[in-house]
């Protein structure tokens, strides 16, 4: 290399000595902090000890749990990420006046249990139910207003 070229190289790298760390630090500091996501259901509860009923599906497992004091709980285990981002679970109970059938699903009349999103285990407390018949759970896409799946025990 000729002398002016050597000098220019040194000048360029002296400049980069300032510019590159400054650029890296500036970009690093500007990384947005992850937004805290408030999901509809409360923080994961402890699973109740007894499994009353269980249904195994390809993408999820659904269990009805209880404890000694009679409290009941829905356990929803998502094995895969749901393809629908706006999925909620409704509970419908059989209607004794219709011979114990569940009737046509209506989101307005069903009981909203909670929302499921990513892969993982979700626990939802269930209200006391006077009926001895097992409930039906509907996985519902509330944006497109479509039933994704129904779970019967």
């Amino acid at each position: 290399m000729i002398r002016p070229l050597r000098k220019r190289h040194l000048q360029i790298w002296s400049t980069l000595l300032v510019l590159i760390p400054a650029g890296i630090i500036m970009a690093w500091l500007s990384i947005k902090k992850p937004v805290h996501n408030n999901v509809l259901q409360p923080a994961s509860e402890q699973a109740l000890p007894n499994i009353i009923l269980s249904v195994e599906k390809e993408s999820y497992t659904v269990r009805l749990r209880s404890n000694e004091s009679g409290a009941r709980q829905l356990e929803w285990v998502n094995k895969d990420v749901l393809r629908v981002p706006s999925a909620v679970i409704y509970k419908t109970s059989p209607n004794p006046s219709q011979g114990g059938t569940y009737g046509k699903f209506s989101a307005e009349h069903a009981e909203l249990i909670g929302r499921i999103e990513a892969r993982g285990t979700y626990h939802f407390p269930l209200k006391e139910d006077s009926s001895n018949l097992p409930p039906q759970f509907i996985l519902y896409d509330f944006i497109h207003e479509k039933i994704i799946d129904s779970v019967k025990f």
Partner: protein, 359 residues
């Protein structure tokens, strides 16, 4: 050299080197894609290609930029320098694959031209975290493209070494653009700090290497030679120069290489006519001073390339007083024949003739 141009001068060494580059790139891509599929099987082919080629191109760019200072720090790296252009062109093709697939993935589904989309889909130039980082990658790729298409010696001769070298020094601008392309792009979305750490280590290593090599060169340039007489400057002891090698001295802002070969000392300008390579760091091969960068050759006694080549460098007067080597820093016109300084043979006490320079 310059007597005639051939499309590609692939000698055995270059072929061997190219196979090494190919094997390295293939191995890297296979490992990267396999690991990605193992940890994230849902990833698409386009995404795999974009990610694997981007990381490989950044890695190659760091290797390319470290070769120059490494050769100045240690001569063992010189073979890498001799083949650096092939690595540069390879890096361009890999970066271009990343660029083309990125544009296809992110800018071809709309109703505007993909290049227009690249510059208009995000115009938040005032924001750091949402800066249109793809534009930075585009301009870096443009520089690499210009460097790749002008990498052959044909362009070096036609553009002139000054313009060619200036164009190729834009690689440093491209490097800065690449660093910011990564930092303002994937790093803003990828929370794992390992990517920032790797990039920071790479940049720190490059900057350190260049500054160390540069400061060493400054030191060489600033060595003072105080002993002068009759226009000559005493530069070293005869035994400081190895046979068929040279020592380089900077006198009056000009670097001069003093070669010891065939029982004589010769002095020529240190700067090779090809790409300003350091002739003083080369060696004599087949009777010719051979530039360590790309193998350009010059005859020691007149600084001319052997026929049919036409390159010439300046020559200088050199003389020997005892073991002291003296140079006259006034250059002769390029290609001027000089007699050199004869290294006297002396007779040992046992009666055997020997070269004083080997004592």
């Amino acid at each position: 050299m310059s007597a005639s141009y051939q499309a590609v001068l692939w000698n055995r060494q270059k072929k061997h080197y190219d196979w090494l580059i190919f094997a390295f790139c293939t191995t890297y891509l296979v490992i990267f894609i396999s690991l990605s599929l193992a940890f994230n099987p849902q990833v698409t082919f386009e995404t795999l290609l974009i990610r694997s080629t981007s990381t490989l191109a950044v890695l190659l760019l760091h290797i390319i930029l470290s070769i120059g200072p490494l050769t100045r720090i240690n001569k063992k790296f010189l073979p890498l320098l001799y083949n650096r252009r092939h690595l540069g062109v390879t890096m361009f093709f890999i970066a271009a694959t990343h660029g083309v697939f990125s544009i296809m993935q992110f800018h071809t589904l709309g109703n505007v031209h993909p290049i227009v989309s690249l510059f208009t889909s995000n115009t938040r130039f005032g924001s750091v975290s949402a800066f249109p980082f793809q534009a930075l990658g585009f301009f870096a790729l443009l520089i690499f493209f210009l460097m790749a298409i002008t990498s052959h010696d044909f362009w070096l001769h036609n553009l002139s070494p000054k313009i060619w070298k200036t164009l190729h020094m834009f690689v440093y601008v491209a490097y800065f653009l690449v660093v910011m392309h990564v930092m303002l792009g994937v790093i803003q979305y990828e929370t794992n700090p390992v990517f920032v750490i790797i990039l920071a280590i790479g940049s720190a290593t490059l900057i350190t290497l260049h500054l160390i090599a540069g400061s060493r060169e400054v030191k060489k340039d600033n060595i003072k030679f105080n002993l002068q007489k009759e226009g000559f400057v005493m530069v070293c002891d005869l035994n400081d120069i190895e046979e068929n090698r040279a020592k380089m001295f900077c006198i009056e802002k000009e670097r001069i290489a003093v070669y010891k070969t065939d029982g004589k000392l010769f002095a020529v300008n240190n700067v090779c006519k090809h790409q300003n390579g350091p002739l003083g760091e080369g060696k004599v091969i087949d009777g010719c001073i051979t530039c360590p960068w790309h193998g350009y050759q010059y005859l020691p006694h007149n600084g001319q390339s052997p026929p049919p080549f036409k390159e010439k460098v300046s020559t200088y007067d050199v003389k020997l007083e005892g073991y002291n080597v003296w140079i006259n820093p006034k250059p002769y016109p390029e290609g001027t024949e000089r007699p050199g300084a004869v290294i006297p043979h002396q007779t040992s006490p046992e009666g055997e003739a020997f070269d004083v320079s080997k004592v």
